[in-house]
Amino acid sequence: MEGLQIVVCGSLVPDPLQTLEPVINPTGPGLKNETMLPSVLDPWASHSLYEAANLAKQVAGSKVFLVSLGPKAKLQQLMMTVAQKAPFELVAVDGSASGFTDAMDVAKTLAAAIEAIPGLDKGKMLLFGGCSSASRDAGVTMQLVGEQLGITDQFVGVDEIKMQDDGSFSVLERIEGGQYLASTCPSMPAVLAWATGSLPEPPNNPQIGMANMRCVMPALQKAKPASIGVGGISFEKTEIPAQKRDTRIVKDVSADEIAAELVEWIKG
């Protein structure tokens, strides 16, 4: 089999381990101190990147592109961690990654960046990304990118891909009830919007980082600005999921009494 060309769409989200405080900025909804919050690669996209790297390793001559739409300065900092995880070539687009953007705008921007990758044979491409996002999540971005690129074989909530020697492949997609839908696809191109996959986060490998960095800095330098999240869309209302931490430290109370109180609380 010829080497694979895997394009992974993935960008940054605020590090979920931080204290994230939603605020309304003059430009729309956001997080307190958002520009200074540390970022991580969107966990859903991370899974797809690790799966892509793993697949590329199995098929000689394969190449992984990471297409990232995010603020340039933040992407640069993020790459110092991500670039150590897996070999890829970065395609950077400078724009908002806040999640408060229109999925179609994002998809068009990503599709245009993919179209512009020199030497990429789109007819043989595997287009990877997360089926969801740890930031605000429309759940349709990968499908729309595929649509823009004319790729009609699309799989969402993927946990596994197995390549055959003839270029066909089988895919496991998560469906309701904890079950999988197994599909086979005779050929590429295809869109795979990944769920969690099955691979752990790879260790930081400085040598991979060094190799990636030769492409990362030039890619960042030539990142084109995208007018994402600027006009065209406004958010009437935002809500975060109700979350209440109600820790109480009690003393001299029997387990039965605590249990009774919990039962009352559950009953609401």
Binding site: D15, L17, Q18, T19, N33, T35, M36, L37, P38, A73, Q76, Q77, M80, T81, Q84, E201, P203, N204, N205, P206, Q207, G209, M210, M213, M217, L220, Q221, R245, T247, R248, I249
Partner: protein, 619 residues
């Protein structure tokens, strides 16, 4: 493990640790790396045809994680950015404004005060008519010039380091790799030829897992810049190899623990307000509160190595200190946003190691830049990096190699001729008195400060392991031997640290948790970026002679542990270490009471390079 085949990589300059000193070094260096036409000024020797390859490896998961709130004169930092409005660019920064030094009385009567302190208590209580008043406190009417930070900056070090790091990375001239602990320098005889990264894919004992083992890579470079702080693995291994210069020692330490608190609406303190406290919760423990913009503040305490009590639990003392009426009036009803701790090398220039050797150089706190008179270290660390960069640029321009001789003639010469060195020399003996207690220490600092280091008090310095008291000595006259033994036995049985039981027996009230500001030690690990460590690394805290632990009653490593990462193990066994909770403050290193039989300057804790730790850049 020398038989392991390791990958090797070549670079031109490799830096260990990304703290203020390395940031100062790289900020100054990168500005000289391009010609005016944008072409590289120097060619890489490691990769001919490429620009200079400069690497920096940082243990924390991102740059700016796990450092501290600070007030600094920022002289050198400001000089590095003459065209920038720093407080406008750096989040959580503000010009230092009102400064107060408050002496806190022990309103609970629970602290242990020696006669000298009782005398000071009486003087300050009586002196209220000429001193500023606070609830259960006296504000000093005058702050000596050496302590003032007027027109300096109040900053979150995390925010500052993130900002400085992004400026550097934006230049594209250096690579700063977080999440990459460096385990040791690579020696060829007495020459340092590079550094070795920590092994990954190993179990907690360091044994390789055949499926995932990735031996730490060797990074070879003609110049290794060691800026990994006072408890960094590389700096400490250099000290083990070369020893300290004659007459120098690193006996004085402190752990600084602080919280970033969202202040209640009722709090009227202006951003930039700086409060320092002394006298409470123990006479040896100092406190601070720096007010950031947007109703937040960084506040905390320092527990020094000369606080001889083994029950020195910083977190518990922090909670008691916060509740002192003088502080509580400002923070009651506030919310904990984030939290952290760090060891400070308080010997200052007395602890200066050999600054240079063949192929390596030391900068920052681990190189003895902390000024122990002005209690200032960040700007000094930054400046040592700036001075090194100037020296390195000179050597690069002249095409000279990074030999000890050349580094001495450039970097060390600059450092010795700089005001930094004058100030450090003046401060050299400022803390000596504390070796003999709080009262003599305060006298000594005052004398050193007022005479510019001409008149100092003398004392005999001892390594910390030699001065930690036994539990019996600590609580003599306060807790009966019977009750003490009973509590120790119960704690061992429950696998709990001693401090809750013993401090309550000694008269401290129980902390009433509110879940917002006063929370359990375990809960605080989740605040402002959950403490964590990725898997695949070995335990970085171990015990050199586990049998010494078996005879240890006070187990100060457990008591001091900032994150409850070291906890009692099975009875008779050494303490247990949980690497996923460790915040790498390194306080266990100098709080172990068991000196090594063959090397009495060192105690029984082995603190190696490890990953993870604090996960917040707000600190």
């Amino acid at each position: 493990m020398s038989e392991i085949e390791r990958m090797k990589m070549e670079a031109d300059i490799v830096c260990v640790g990304f703290g203020p000193s390395t940031a100062g070094f790289l900020t100054t260096l990168t500005r000289a790396l391009l010609n005016e036409d944008g072409t590289p000024a120097f060619e890489s020797k490691a990769m001919p045809g490429m620009p200079l390859q400069i690497m920096c490896y940082e243990r924390a998961d991102d740059i700016g994680f796990g450092v501290s709130g600070v007030v600094t004169k920022a002289t050198s930092i400001k000089a590095s950015f003459p065209d920038k409005d720093l407080t406008a660019e750096i989040p959580n920064s503000v010009i230092a404004g009102t400064e107060k030094v408050a002496y806190l009385f022990d309103h609970l009567g629970a602290s242990q005060r020696d006669p000298g302190t009782k005398f000071v208590d009486a003087v300050f209580r009586g002196g209220h008519f000429f001193m500023g008043k606070g609830p259960e406190a006296a504000e000093l009417p005058w702050i000596p010039p050496f302590l003032r930070k007027e027109d300096g900056l109040v900053m979150s070090m995390g925010s500052f380091m993130s900002w400085a790091g992004s400026q550097l990375m934006g230049s594209g001239l250096v690579q700063i790799w977080p999440g990459t602990p460096v385990s040791e320098p690579i020696f060829e005889d007495d020459k340092v030829v590079g550094v070795r990264l920590a092994d990954q894919g190993v179990d907690l004992q360091g044994n390789p897992d055949p499926a995932t083992f990735m031996p730490g890579m060797d990074i070879h470079a003609p110049l290794v810049v060691v800026g990994d702080g006072p408890v960094g693995a590389v700096g400490r291994k250099l000290d083990e190899h070369f020893g300290l210069p004659e007459g120098n020692h690193q006996h004085d330490w402190a752990v600084g623990m602080k919280a970033v608190v969202e202040l209640p609406e009722k709090c009227k303190l202006e951003p930039g307000t700086v409060i320092h406290t002394l006298g409470y919760p123990e006479q040896e423990i100092f406190g601070f509160m720096y007010v950031y913009p947007d109703r937040t503040a960084s506040l905390g305490i320092f527990v020094p190595s000369w606080f001889d009590s083994p029950v020195r639990t910083t977190y518990t003392y922090l909670q008691h200190w916060m509740q002192h009426p003088y502080i509580w009036q400002h923070v009651e009803g506030g919310k904990m946003r984030s939290w952290g701790a760090k060891s400070l090398q308080e010997s200052g220039v007395r602890g200066e190691p050999h600054l240079t050797g063949e192929g390596y150089v030391r900068i920052g706190e681990g190189s003895g830049t902390t000024n122990v008179l002005t209690n200032s270290g960040v700007d000094e660390a930054w400046h040592s990096g700036v001075l090194l960069a100037e020296g390195v640029i000179e050597l690069l321009k002249e095409g000279k190699p990074f030999t000890k001789e050349n580094l001495d003639a450039t970097y060390v010469k600059r450092r010795r001729a700089d005001k930094l060195n004058d100030d450090l020399q003046k401060a050299k003996r400022a803390r000596d008195g504390f070796q003999d207690g709080f009262f003599k220490g305060m006298m000594g600092t005052g004398m050193t400060g007022m005479t510019n280091g001409v008149v100092n008090v003398s004392s005999n310095s001892r390594p910390p392991a030699h001065r930690i008291k036994t539990l019996k000595e600590t609580y003599a006259g306060r807790i009966s031997e019977e009750k003490l033994a009973e509590a120790v036995a119960q704690c061992a049985k429950d696998k709990q640290p001693l401090h809750d039981a013993l401090m309550i027996l000694a008269g401290w009230p129980e902390i009433k948790m509110d879940g917002e500001l006063l929370m359990s030690h375990q809960d605080v690990l989740l605040k402002g970026g959950k403490v964590q460590a990725v898997g695949g690394f070995a335990d970085h805290v171990t015990f050199a002679h586990p049998e010494l632990c078996e005879t240890c009653e006070e187990r100060t490593c457990i008591e001091i542990c900032s994150a409850q990462a070291i906890m009692p193990g099975e009875e008779g066994e050494p303490p247990e270490f949980d690497r996923e909770k460790c915040i790498h403050c390194g306080a266990c290193i100098w709080s172990c009471s068991k000196a090594l039989p063959d090397y009495p300057e060192k105690a029984n804790i082995v603190f190696s390079a490890g990953s993870g730790g604090l996960h917040s850049n707000e600190n």
